[in-house]
Subunit: 201 residues, 2 copies
Amino acid sequence: VLRDAAVTVRQRLPPRTGRAFPLRRGQVLTVIDPLGEQVADLIAFADDDATEHLSSGRTLDYASTLRLTTGHVLYSDRSRAMLTIVEDTVGRHDLLYTPCAADTFRILYGDPGPRPSCEANLISALATLGVARRSMPTTFNIFMHVEISGDGTLHVLPPLSRAGDHIALCAEMDLIVGVTACSADLSNNHRFKPIDVEVSA
Amino acid sequence: VLRDAAVTVRQRLPPRTGRAFPLRRGQVLTVIDPLGEQVADLIAFADDDATEHLSSGRTLDYASTLRLTTGHVLYSDRSRAMLTIVEDTVGRHDLLYTPCAADTFRILYGDPGPRPSCEANLISALATLGVARRSMPTTFNIFMHVEISGDGTLHVLPPLSRAGDHIALCAEMDLIVGVTACSADLSNNHRFKPIDVEVSA
C-alpha cells in the first residue's frame, strides 16, 4: 500500500481539494484558515482497523454539547478517544453534516456536476492510504458555522474564522486522517479558499 | 441466510429488546409507544447492499432541520431516499445520537455492565438477517426528546409521547430495518417500557 508522507511542515491544500496522511498518537494536527471564512472537513480512521471511524453520535453523546472546542474529545464509533481539541481560536465548528458531495449539489442546488466535493476528495485521498470507502461518515467540519433556530431549523452561515485562525487537535491513538479545503459555496461564503495543515514532529 | 419473518400484525418488543425485519418498498412501518415516554431507536440498511445505511448527516442536510416529522425523508449515506415519515402524532424525535451501548453506560454513568443496550440489541437482531456490523450508525431515535440550549448544550428530557402515540414511515426502497425498545434510563424517564411495531401488508 502506497502511504502518503507524513505532514511535518506546514502545507497548503489548494481550494476545493483534500488530502490524507497518518497521524501518530501524541502528534498534534493544526488546521489553519489562511485567508478566513474557509471550512475544512476532517475525518479520522483507526490506523490498525480502518473500519473504526470518527463518530458524530458518540462524540456528541459524551460531550453533551454541539459546540465542540478546546478540551473536547472526538470519539470513534467504538468509543475510543481519537482526537482531543487542544487549541481553538474560533470556537464554532460543525459535527452534524456529512461532507458536501455530488449528490448534495444535485439535490440541494440542482447542479448536475461534475464539480469537486469534499466527499470525493476524501474518498480519493484516503484510498491512496488503503482506506477504501464508498461514502464518508459525518465529518468534523472545522470552521463551519451552523446556527439552529428555536424550531430546529438549520442555517449555514459564513464561518466566523478570520485569516490566521486555527484549531489544534492531539491524536489519542494512531490514525489516518483526511482534511479538505471545502468545496461547498454556502459553507464558505461563496469563495473557495485554501486550507493549511501542519503536524508536530 | 436465515431471514426474520416480516411483521404483518402488530407485535410487541419487550422492554430493552430489539428486532429486525425486512421492509419492502411501499410498505408502511408504524412504531407505537403503548404506555408513553418510551424511545424506539430505528436503523435501516439497503436490502440489496447492507453497506448502505441511514445517514444522519445526509438527512439533516436535505431537511435543513433537526425536527423531523410528517413529510420529511430519511436518506442513506448514498443519498437514496429510504423512508418518508407519513404520520407523526408527537413531532419530537432525535437524529443526533448513536444508540445506547455498553460503552455509553460505562463512560457516561460508570456502569461496568453487563446490561442490555440498543446497540447490542440491534447488532444481534440484524445479524440474523445477514447484516454484520461492529457498531451502529446514528439511529433515528423515535420519541427521544433532546433540547438544545442557546449555547449548544444538549439535554435529554422525558419523551413527549403519551400512550398510543405513534409515527408511521413509508419505505421508499427495499430495506432491512432494526427497531428497539430503548435501554437507556435517561432517555425513557427511568422506566423501561415496551414498543409496538406494525407493518402494512
